[in-house]
């Protein structure tokens, strides 16, 4: 039970941290100053949510782990983030589409997690949900703006969907620890949020004049530590300092 709760908390933390890190790669490179600031703020919210979750995982672990050791000293197979969060940013269409698909997922997810039997997870969910609402609104607008924009922006959004769609199936495939915790009212029942997510995505895609792909093969494994090659590169960059200079602070 406790191991499952630690794994579940790490899964949520890793999602937030890895996508937060990806989004932070835009800092200084955004297509316009205001949008650079927006994506950097979204990155910061994600990393903040990750901190709350890692702090809780550290308490649950009760073995000397800290939020920093959990973020900086675990290896690829220990990370439990969804594969969609580790995909490279690609262009602005790919970044905003991924954010939309993920924020829509997080939005309905946190709405359920607010009712969790675990009080700390419920508190983190309520706190995070307020932030995710802004992310979902912002990213929906970009999907619509580009999809229903010029021929070129439409084309880029269609390409982004082809690139990312196969990674959305994993959002709703529960890992073993999730199934166990859902049964005891701690974890979110993914079957409950899947139709809500599909409805939201259909509505925004319709407004963006883009089609939802046919059912496709779902890339999966992230939740159990089986990742794409991209995660190793993220960790190499993110963890370098702590690996080279253990305990370094500023």
């Amino acid at each position: 039970m406790n191991t499952s709760l630690i794994n579940y908390t790490l899964h949520l933390a890793d999602n937030a941290l890895i996508l937060g890190h990806r989004n932070s790669e835009w800092c200084g490179h955004g297509p316009a100053l205001e949008q650079d600031i927006a994506i950097s703020n979204i990155a910061l919210d994600g990393i903040g949510q990750a901190r709350n979750l890692y702090q809780y995982a550290a308490v649950l672990s009760n073995n000397g782990a800290t939020e920093d050791s959990l973020a900086y000293l675990r290896d690829v197979i220990d990370f439990k983030n969804l594969l969609i969060t580790e995909l490279p940013n690609g262009d602005w269409a790919q970044t905003t589409l991924r954010q939309f698909l993920f924020s829509a997922y997080q939005f309905y997810f946190y709405q359920q997690l607010e009712k969790s039997a675990d009080q700390q997870l419920a508190a983190i969910a309520t706190k995070s949900l307020k932030e995710v609402t802004y992310h979902l609104r912002w990213s929906s607008e970009w999907v619509i703006r580009l999809g229903d924009g010029t021929a070129e922006s439409h084309d880029k959004m269609v390409k982004a969907i082809a690139e990312i769609w196969n990674y959305t199936g994993e959002l709703f495939l529960p890992a073993s620890y999730e199934k166990e915790l859902a049964a005891s009212g701690i974890a979110v029942d993914l079957a409950v949020i899947q139709p809500l997510w599909e409805q939201k995505v259909s509505a925004v895609f319709a407004e963006a004049t883009i089609a939802i792909p046919e059912k496709s093969f779902a890339q999966k494994g992230g939740k159990e530590g089986i990742h794409t090659e991209h995660l190793g590169y993220i960790l190499a960059e993110m963890q370098f300092l702590q690996r080279a200079y253990p305990g370094a602070e500023w």
Binding site: E34, Q35, Q49, K127, V204
Partner: protein
């Protein structure tokens, strides 16, 4: 017993006054009390003759980098006032809301050039391209303003432009 509790109340009063001097490093006109992030102050016995202040704070946004600095500054102010043993606890629930910002804080924000959160709390919903709430320009008081971005210079602010005086300004958004 009565004496001790009177003493405790006196100490708590003193701590609240000290907290009034701790400001938000990102919006230095606001004290931590104006922000509404101090959730509780209590005093516990510590050692023979000493007392330990226990301050409970809550973050504005999950990733707000000011929170760490605020904790350090609270500790510094209490140390300077002679307290030795100090505990600062962070709680997430209930989640902070701009409704907890004091009226005085809102007035200070406006005088500082930042539009304060609306008095009537607006609820953020995820719908795209919503009609924006009217925000008053803190420079010229015009209501003829336009949202530039929901994300501004810090996590708690949105960016607006005044169509009359043409100045951009920050809005401390409802949360």
């Amino acid at each position: 017993m009565t004496v001790l509790s009177n003493h405790t109340t006196e100490t708590e009063k003193k701590i609240w006054l000290l907290l009034e001097t701790v400001t938000d490093p990102e919006v230095p006109v606001l004290s931590v009390l104006d922000l509404g992030i101090i959730r509780n102050v209590s005093v516990e016995p510590s050692g023979e003759n000493n007392v330990k202040p226990v301050i409970t704070i809550t973050p504005t946004y999950s990733g707000c980098p000011a929170m760490d600095v605020i904790s350090i500054n609270i500790r510094m102010v209490l140390l300077q006032a002679g307290f030795k043993d100090i505990e600062i606890k962070q709680v997430l629930s209930p989640a902070w809301t701009t409704e907890w910002m004091s009226t005085e804080g809102k007035n200070k924000l406006k005088a500082y050039g930042i539009a304060p959160p609306q008095y009537k709390q607006a609820v953020c919903t995820p719908d795209a391209f919503q009609e924006e709430e009217a925000i008053q320009c803190p420079q010229c008081n015009s209501w003829h303003t336009t949202l530039i971005s929901q994300f501004g210079s810090t996590a708690c602010k949105a960016l607006y432009r005044c169509e009359d005086c043409k100045e951009p300004f920050d809005y401390f958004k409802c949360h």
